[in-house]
Every structure is written in structure tokens, then in C-alpha cells.
Assembly symmetry: C2
Homo-oligomer: 245 residues x 2
């Protein structure tokens, strides 16, 4: 353990923030930290759109399913996977962009997540709190229109940043032996590790909610993957020029 790993292991999402804005100086530094992350073939397929207009922030909060901190956090960033910039660069050298490759979609989406998570750890090292907003994918076409995103650019998620006004517990995770395997995939470990984790999660919720939430991880997974989820995503991505082949 060192100060960085201690910081990393103390992460929890923050959903209540003080009124203090996050300065441009800090945002610029945080985005520069994100740029320092690894990037596939140096493509840097990440564009961060900071939403500063209060009206647009309110609309984003609504589009994300009614998450008020999207409008009220110290700053709100939309992380976009951006193949438009490398496409323009390619064309400036007389090349012809090859659109719609699934591989390019993966590269760009991974690039975004690596950069965002690096920014997140940098932000937490400065005492800021964060919350990822996957809910932007509820209404990705509306988000894209609000931000004037061209083809080959899609909003992967949002990120709320600000000074915390709450101090929630760290959420328990699966035991490390359930996610770390050697040489081959072995789902037998789940037979013992998942029930133990289910019991742990149930206790966490019961304690945290004064007995009101009685749920396990497996219950939550039934709710998450036991039904269709955002079924518009494939069509949306195709419309924006992604994953056509």
C-alpha cells in the first residue's frame, strides 16, 4: 500500500456536491492528466465536452433519467469517442477514412475509458469527488444533437466532478479470487465466491438503508442483464457511422 493505492481503494461515487465550481485551471489539468493515459496507436480518440451552459446542463440531467447532480455538480463533462479527428487527419494526408469498423469502435471506446479513469484518479487526488453518468446513453441521439456531435463521434458517458458534500461508504466488490484466474477461465470459483459476495452485499444494503433495501448482487444482475437494456444503442451507433462491419 502507498498513498496512490490507498486513494484508489477509497473510491466511491459522489452524488452530492458543494456549490463550489471547479476552475478552468483544474479542469485543464485534469484533462491533461487523462491525455497521459495509454492510447491505442496514439489515436487519442477522446474529446471531452464540458457543459457550462446551465440550460444544457438541465437538459442533460433530464436526458440522463433525472439525475440532478448532472446540473448541479461543480463541473459536468461529456466523454466522447471521437473518430472524426483522426479521420480528418487521415484525409489531410490524402487518405480515405474507412468508416464503421468494429475494431475502431473498440479502440475509441477503450481510449475514452482509459483517459476518463485517469482524470478521475487525478481528481480524487485533489480532493474532488466524481460520478460517472452512463445514463446519457438513455437518449444518445438527443445528447449528440445538443452538443452538435458530427458523425464518427458518440457520447460514451458523462462525468460529474465537484467538491463532495457527502461521505458515503466504499461499496463492497466481488472477492478478488472471483475475478483473477490463472491460465484458463474457470467458472467453478463462482459457486462459492458469488454466494459469499451476495451475503456481503445484502448486509451492506440492509445496514446502509436501515433494513429498507434487501437485495443481493445476483438480484441486481437479474435486473440488469435479465432484460433488454437500451435497445436503441445499436441503431444509434449505426446512424453515427459506428460498427457497420
Amino acid at each position: 500500500m502507498n498513498s496512490t493505492t490507498t486513494l484508489i481503494k477509497s473510491h466511491r461515487s459522489i452524488r452530492k456536491f458543494t456549490d463550489e465550481a471547479v476552475s478552468d485551471e483544474i479542469i485543464g489539468e485534469l484533462i491533461a492528466c487523462g491525455q497521459a493515459a495509454a492510447t491505442s496507436s496514439n489515436v487519442q480518440a477522446v474529446t471531452v465536452i464540458q457543459v457550462t451552459d446551465p440550460d444544457i446542463r438541465e437538459q442533460m440531467a433530464t436526458l440522463a433519467g433525472g439525475q440532478p447532480y448532472v446540473a448541479s455538480a461543480g463541473a459536468f463533462l461529456v466523454y466522447c469517442a471521437d473518430l472524426n479527428r483522426p479521420s480528418l487527419a487521415c484525409q489531410s494526408k490524402g487518405g480515405e477514412f474507412s468508416p464503421g469498423m468494429t475494431e475502431h469502435f473498440i479502440i475509441a471506446t477503450v481510449d475514452v475509458a482509459l483517459a476518463a479513469q485517469t482524470t478521475v484518479i487525478a481528481a480524487e487526488s485533489m480532493g474532488l469527488g466524481i460520478c460517472y453518468i452512463g445514463g446519457l446513453r438513455n437518449k444518445p441521439a438527443e445528447v449528440a444533437e445538443l452538443l452538435s456531435l458530427p458523425d464518427q463521434v458518440y457520447p460514451v458517458f458523462g462525468l460529474c466532478l465537484g467538491y463532495p458534500a457527502q461521505d458515503p461508504e466504499v461499496k463492497p466488490r466481488l472477492p478478488v479470487e472471483a475475478v483473477w484466474m490463472k491460465d484458463r477461465y474457470d467458472s467453478a470459483i463462482f459457486d462459492t465466491a458469488v454466494p459469499a459476495y451476495d451475503a456481503h452485499v445484502r448486509e451492506y444494503y440492509l445496514t446502509r438503508t436501515g433494513g429498507n433495501k434487501d437485495s443481493t448482487w445476483s438480484d441486481e444482475m437479474k435486473a440488469l442483464v435479465g432484460k433488454e437494456s437500451r435497445p436503441h444503442m445499436q441503431g444509434f451507433l449505426h446512424d453515427r457511422g459506428f460498427m457497420l462491419k
Copy 2:
């Protein structure tokens, strides 16, 4: 700037490592750090398969396009997007897994990248060096077979970890103003920012290679997105049960 942001901004990929192995204690701690990252709806769709068998590591090095450090680094991890584990949990509660959702593919791929990048920063804080291995996607079906991956699990990338035996320069990135926008996407900034960056990258390569490599970022983007890239990926993912709708 603080010690964490200084660490983050000093990242460079390491491709030469000492012979020292990375202990199980350290790997376990690094994977636990990765688990502390945010995860969509707590799905934790990440399974890390550490390849310890020297034969399998040699095969991985070949499959990745002949990258010898895949076999020789202190440790080699394969980061898998894993919807099999939540699917089993869903079924254990009487649910029926809804396969092939593009949204679930995005969630799992982003989860993997957030966890891996958190592990990377933790590793670098301990003095380790790293290199992501996207080259595993050259031959994803062969990688999946070698590691006995079930359906609903795919190898997103590999990660070499070890004690550095080289000290390369930090690679220059796009100027922050080319990736940070406010309220709307505006590609006009690229007209000045990209040529400036191209000049910077060209100088970096010329200096680093004693004049042997004369290339700009735009040249590299022409090579990367100006042609089809890993055109097998869509079919591979469909075969594994991903992105069917």
C-alpha cells in the same frame, strides 16, 4: 500538481523489463485496486486471466503479432469483458439472460478499461512499468480458445507488467485545447492545433530515431484509420454472443 498527478503525467509504455517476476501478492493487490474503480450498476464485468504457463505466454506473444515482452515481462494479464458471470448470477435468481445487447457490450468493455487503467496507475505507483497489448485482437478466437473463454466473454486487451529495464521519454499528446471543448463540438480548433501537434510529433520522432523516422500524427492516423482494421472483430464478437442487437 501533486504526487499522483506527477505520476500520471510521467506515464510511458515499457517494453523492456528486468527478469524479476511480479509476486502474487502484488498482482492480487493490483487487481483489487482495479476492482475499486467505478463499474456500471456494480456489474463488475471484468475477469483478469494471468497467463503463467510459459508455453501459453509464448503463444500469446506470437498471436499478438510477435511482441516478445508478452512472454518475458514480469507478469502478463489478459483483460476479459465478462458477461458470463452476471448471466450466471441472473439465472441463479430465476432470470433469463438477454444476450447480445450492444449496451451490455459497451458496459462490459468500459468496465474492463476502467479497472485496467486503475491497476496501471497503482502499478506505476509501485515502480512497475506497463504495456497494453491490443494485439491480442489480431487473433481473438485463438486467444479465447487458449484460455477456454466461454461465450459472453471476450479478451479486450492484454497487459504486460514488470520492473522497467528502459526509461523512454513521455510521448507528446495533442494540445489540451484540441480535446477539450465547451458546450458544443467544434472541429475548427483542429485547423491550428493539429498542424502544430504534427510538427511536434515529427520533431519527437526525428530526435528519438536519429533522423530515421520522419512521420507526423496525421501520417499515423492515415495508416490507422485509412484502411480496414481487424475486420474479423465483428464476426468474432457475434460468434461469442456480443452485439447481436
